[in-house]
């Protein structure tokens, strides 16, 4: 029977919702146990959040000062040791998981399944290649541990609240390197919802025209309680920082509502949003490709339409 170890992603003492999404994927394996591993300097708050996720059997914690920042070179040897006895190691396919999981796989001498979209059987998965333009079915070797990253946009977060899994501190006997050091994290400080996990996202593109003009996007997003995103064109033009980029080379998201404003809809952008619930497109060019996939399209000048939307909502 399968036993799955899910690696918790967290920041600032809080569990990232990508963890509960990875638990959903673990549930689909239909194994006998799903344990969540929390590696941090201070584990308690994170572990108690993880213990509430439905389907979690146990939460295992490794509290070490070296785990204060998620450095792959530090975490991977601990995860590889902790993986003993597990048939699967699942990690969210976020920049955290993409960084650490292959390092774990290599230490275990196994292949990695990247960006799992569906679990077909315990060792059979579907994943996207060519930026989601083809979906492949892959089979992993059932005699070894499967290391996989879980594509957050493909999985709903497992529910929380009812469960109360036991929390156990464990020690892992791993030599940690000192060759890699954390210096700093520059976060775009914001009270807005997190782009990766927000239920509503308002994105602006090249059509917004300038950094100053982007204020209209931020204001409207605040008005409806949405996170703000941007197309690659808007990021490259310097309107907003790169951490707001949505698309193949940016963030792949699946909000309930996605509003693309002044975004033409290049393939690389559409790749990042095609799992969204409802897509709204507002663009002055009625021929823009974004309208091909939008559930609701509105042709017109965004600088006229956004104030109108705000007026209707007022």
């Amino acid at each position: 029977m399968s036993k799955i170890l899910v690696i918790a992603e967290h920041l600032g003492g809080k569990l990232n919702s990508s963890t509960a999404r990875a638990v959903s994927a673990a549930t689909a394996v239909k194994g006998e146990a799903i344990d969540v591993l929390v590696l941090a300097d201070s584990v308690d708050a994170i572990a108690s959040e993880a213990a509430k996720i439905d389907g979690v059997s146990r939460v295992l914690t490794v509290a070490r000062p070296e785990n204060a920042h998620p450095l792959a070179a530090i975490l991977a040897p601990q995860i590889a040791k902790a993986a003993a006895g597990y048939s699967h190691v699942f990690v969210p396919s976020t920049t955290f998981g993409k960084d650490v999981a292959p390092r774990v796989a290599a230490l275990l001498g196994v292949a990695q399944v990247s960006d799992v979209m569906s679990v077909e059987a315990a060792y059979t998965f579907k994943r996207p290649i060519y930026a989601g333009n083809a979906i492949i079915t892959v089979e992993a070797d059932a005699t070894h541990t499967v290391v996989a990253t879980i594509r957050s946009a493909s999985w709903p977060a497992a529910l929380t609240g009812v469960n109360s899994a036991p929390i156990e501190a464990i020690t892992v006997d791993a030599v940690l390197p000192t060759h890699t050091r954390f210096v700093e994290l520059k976060q775009g400080s914001s009270d807005r919802p997190d782009l990766q996990s927000a239920s509503k996202v308002v994105s602006g593109g090249r059509g917004v025209g300038s950094k100053e003009n982007f204020d209209i996007i931020f204001k409207f997003a605040d008005r409806i309680g949405a996170a703000v995103g941007a197309s690659r064109a808007a990021v490259d033009a310097g309107y907003v920082p790169s951490d707001l980029q949505v698309g193949q080379t940016g963030k792949i998201i699946a909000p309930e509502l996605y509003m693309a404003i002044g975004i033409s809809g290049a393939i690389q952008h559409l790749t990042g949003i095609k799992d969204a619930g409802i897509i709204v497109a507002i663009n002055k060019d009625g021929e823009a490709p974004i309208f091909e996939i939008a559930d609701f399209g509105l042709v017109g000048d965004l600088f006229k339409i956004i104030p109108e939307l705000e007026q209707v909502l007022a």
Partner: protein, 248 residues
Amino acid sequence: MKILVGYKRVVDYNVRIQVKPDGSGVVTDGVKLSANPFDDIALEEALRLREKGVATEVVVVGIGPADLTAHLRNGLAMGANRAIHVVASDAVQPLTAARVFLKLIEKEQPGLVILGKQAIDDDANQTGQMLAALWDRPQATFASKVEIADGKATVTREIDAGLEVIEAELPAVITTDLRLNEPRFIKLPDIMKAKSKPIDTIELGSLGVESHGHLKTTHYAAPAKRSKGVMVKDAAELVAALKQKGLL
């Protein structure tokens, strides 16, 4: 310092990928092939480090069939000093690629290995991290800024939470993100010059890399399509529609 650069050939990013009707693969016959965009960025960064005097030699590495030579010549035309062609008839998976790089590292002793964060064909995003693990050296993935000084790399990484800065002692593996640099264009005289630059050829089988640990791809399918929705006439109609869906 020597820099090894991974230089993979992939289906050009402008090609619309078609899945074969029988699900056995994607159509690659007659399709334009180019350097993986992230690998062009990796090579550009290595060349800039050489131009700054940080590196002395830039070596591009390709793994692939006999006709990969023309692709490696492009890397040489862009400015690499020499190329290593690891001849393999079939595409290799990331773990094998990492094992191949480790063998080359043992021979070449580079101070830095720069790879693209992912190849735009299999989108695996694994080789650099796997190599760093097997080599037991630092990894700095998704780099948008690299500074080398005092035997270490200070790398700004593009992560979901923002920009993370880490320090990695050399030798190390760096993987490139899109905004690290803009690769230069190849000029005609450089293509001529590249013809006389050396390409070492090594058979994959002669490297003695382990071959276990592979995934088997059993089926290819086209992605589910989103259907075209409806056009609304104005802001009021849009808000009404979204309210009806419970989204506003």
